[in-house]
Symmetry: D2
Subunit: 277 residues, 4 copies
């Protein structure tokens, strides 16, 4: 056969299996999104349209990959938790990383016009992805706590920064100078005393990021719930997958979009199935 | 600092550096493209629009990543050769695989309407990617020969198959039955005697796949060439990057799209810089 | 400097860090020990001298590497559990695997004359080693259960086999034929009815393998214990390290050699510190 | 079967195949040999017995593993080159690293009394090992050049240092102070003017290290050569394997021990088969 004398080159593709029974966190980050957000006129410090587009892409990924039970997003990044026993693509690293990054990217471009109807995409955006393994539940909790603590720090800074620039009339250089060395309390104070902004009253999506949780749907009320969900889905927060799953005889699940604290125990007690297998 | 007690989770992200001074081949494959091509009415056995869209995305990738000197595409797959000394993302595997897959996907969705103006995308397509390392030039040549031999085998089969179905009126089951056990010569004969098709006269893009080669542009004629290229670029086969590069003081290069044999020596002699560093 | 133009070759040595906070099991196997045991006249089915030499080498390894809390040996293999937080050699895989294999081998050859005073080593024996990572306590328990179940199966077979050969006068071929298809109960019966051997009364070292557990020594009684240990150490089962450690201000530990069941809960309850960090 | 419910733990042992068609360099280093050499009274700056023992162990390794074509040793380290197509242990990294380190260690302890008849081993020495992959011949040459340049630098320093201490009566602190900041020429001068030592006349084993090359034996003269080799083998420099191999119908090879320059072209031209496959 024509190709057979060359087929030896396949042997150079080595196995890259991820350790079994270990949680996988898959994280995406926007590639050069500083420039991308400038070129597309993202509102500062937070562009609701851009965040909702990220959420939409994340939700699509979770609808496609049922082994993702939890996701957390902020700014131009998103993290996804795959259950520790997942056999997705036989746990091959490059296959998982590339396919998930690809689908997320594709959804982002595909759904762009829905969230930016008046802003045509000027060029194709891209993301990078990685997988990090965590052996235990505690590390998974701490990973997500780490991301949400990051959200808090970044958003408080950015909110104060852009208030100084947009409302305070400072140059960006001056705004950075004002904030240099300040602690959290100082930034709250600047926002409140200079601009009348109570940071804790701002939209929790900005302060807490976005959390998608997969929850089981009680079997007897699937149809009802689905209908309610469809009504509620104007903010892209509930999937229509429950019904489909019921027909397939699988456990019906749906995705809830939250903007809540995921650092303290409360969240993990309420959704304690996330870390179980 | 709020996040610091959680920052230990970063330590779980382990280095994944690819062996230095080794050729990288990055290959993309369409994910579930059998279904995707059906849903979007791809012409059988070859859809020129779909192939040109793949070529466009491949070219965009090469324009962005100058360390890619050669690419080969067929059907829903594309392979890219990165020069062996590339320091792209410090040779971190997940970063390279995910970013390149992401950008290709993004270009594919972004440019879709240009090639399928009357066929709206029904859902976001995705690709998987992988990197295979090759230590020597011979293995790189054999890798690309392997892919082109595959193109030949698949396309000859598909051309005969769809002739039997579309022109011969056979069911797909019967068409497969007719071809079972046939060798290359038999398929040529079926095409010629039953359908008057001289396989060797078919569009070389279908028979040979698409080859992108990065070539240096003679510095003194950059402007002229660029202009000619712009004129010639109606088929998206020549990049406008030459001019930009000249301004930056780098070596000007441009991308040539070919549909030629890459198994025999001729190609590799003509473009002998590809395998050099 | 003379060497500097060549020093780039160091870059080809890539990091091979093992996932943090994950149990490591390091296992050694004798290389071609079938031949080795024949050439050195090992008693069949069990050679007490050879097993005690293996135990001695294992104990030396645990004395040198305090992060090993448990070991299990049978025949020509030994498994060692490193605590999940160990930072030994910064968790570099090749460093750990090679150094531990080397020290075990060295101890084996070094102490050979003590256990085989009349049998000079005819050639240098070798071992291979590997590390397997386990994310959770249950998998560690199951790993050690797997090895001890293997000990049971192999030793019961070998005991019956060599009884048939040595006492029953069968050829090895015939002995294998007799045992083919037999289950555990059948082999017990053969041993008891034909040779008057109650398998369950045989030396537990043969039936259960060797278990080394590291236990803490109550600080106030270190000296006393150490002395008692020295007295008891004629079978190389207790280390003299307790005293040394006290002087260094570390927690004093000593090694206990057991030949007990490690499949059931009892062992793991009694020594529950093994799996903790 | 008793063990089957635990056998799932085998799945955690992941493949670790080394890239095909790539040179492997396996390097061993003595573990804590500063202390080991002190405890066993090694002569400074070079102990011929210790070097010859290292050579003996290296030669044994090459006799066992025919895919090693070249080795270079200095002080307490040794590097071995495996041909790029070697299929040893299916190119499994841990298996190769551990087995080769184990056999070398075993040979070192086993042959100790031959080289140190009056110095009993006080405790078991150990080595660590690693494998580094090199894609091309040039990198392999540069690797060995790097090690021999290191030999030169270290040995010149040590020779001058110990001359200052042993013959010059300096303390080690003062000797280091004298040499601080000196270049190669200065150290030659110190040796010559103060101690009448012409460094370039010292035993090449000290200045150049040890080089083992595997060479083919002309088939018709195997016996003759073997005999000559046996005569010459008083320094353990030629193996008796040639004859054995002839009987097996394989290409007969033998090992030559050299203390020559391996940085310049001459060596690689003379032994050009080393880098070929």
């Amino acid at each position: 056969m024509a190709g057979s004398k060359f087929a030896y080159v396949k042997k150079f593709e080595l196995p890259d299996i991820l350790l079994p029974s270990t949680f996988m966190v898959f994280r995406l980050d926007g590639h050069s999104f500083h420039r991308f957000s400038d070129e597309h006129g993202f509102v500062k410090p937070n562009d609701l349209r851009a965040l909702q587009l990220m959420d939409h892409a994340a939700k699509s990924l979770m609808e496609e990959y049922k082994d993702i039970g939890l996701a957390f997003g902020e700014s131009d990044e998103y993290s996804f938790l795959l259950r520790k026993s997942t056999a997705l693509y036989n746990r091959r690293q490059a296959k998982i990383v590339s396919t998930l990054t690809s689908l997320f990217t594709s959804c982002y471009v595909f759904h762009w016009p829905r969230y930016f109807p008046d802003v045509p995409l000027r060029y194709p955006p891209s993301f990078d992805g990685r997988i990090v393994l965590y052996p235990s539940q505690q590390e998974v909790r701490d990973y997500f706590a780490w991301r949400q603590a990051d959200t808090h720090i970044n958003n408080l800074y950015n909110t104060a920064f852009w208030a100084l620039v947009q409302q305070g009339g400072l140059t960006t250089t001056d705004a950075h100078a004002v904030l240099r060395g300040t602690v959290s309390k100082d930034k709250h104070e600047i926002l409140f005393s200079r601009f009348g902004v109570n940071y804790d009253k701002l939209d929790p999506q900005y302060r807490k990021g976005s959390v998608f949780v997969r929850v089981k749907t009680a079997e007897e009320s699937v149809d009802e719930l689905s209908i309610r969900n469809d009504v509620a889905s104007t903010q892209a927060d509930v999937s229509g997958e429950a019904l489909k799953q019921k027909k397939k005889g699988k456990v019906a699940t749906q995705l809830e979009l939250l903007h809540c604290d995921i650092i303290r125990d409360e969240f993990w007690k309420k959704y304690d199935h996330i870390l179980k297998d």
